[in-house]
Symmetry: C2
Subunit: 84 residues, 2 copies
Amino acid sequence: METVIGTIAGILTSVSMIPQLIKVLKEKDVENLSWGMIAVLLIGVSLWVVYGIMKNELPIILSNGFSVLVNTILLIYYFKYKNQ
Amino acid sequence: METVIGTIAGILTSVSMIPQLIKVLKEKDVENLSWGMIAVLLIGVSLWVVYGIMKNELPIILSNGFSVLVNTILLIYYFKYKNQ
């Protein structure tokens, strides 16, 4: 039962990141992004992946792994397009 | 050891939400917010709190509980100031 709840929670929290990612990918508009906060979030979700691996909990690994991917892309785009 | 990693992860992911919250509280600028995505995120992190309670994992309960608080405030501010 917990795995079902964790999987739904993970899907919802992952889905909620997509609009911002699409907006940045489409418009290359990184003005509203704070690279400091993305970096803090990236370290945080990376540690959640480590936590999930240590606890052997797939919902935590997958949802935070997705967040690592999204925030890595945001960070790359931030430094690529910040001076435009 | 896992609890230490989960606690640090939770603190970092919580800290990363604070600048946006402060900006909205100060400037009442909700133009960039999508109430749909805040609602999706709110349901997601609420389910993570349920997951944490079922698994009896404090780091998950506390960090997602904080996220429930932040996103509830954002949602209230969104509907209060969206027509300004």
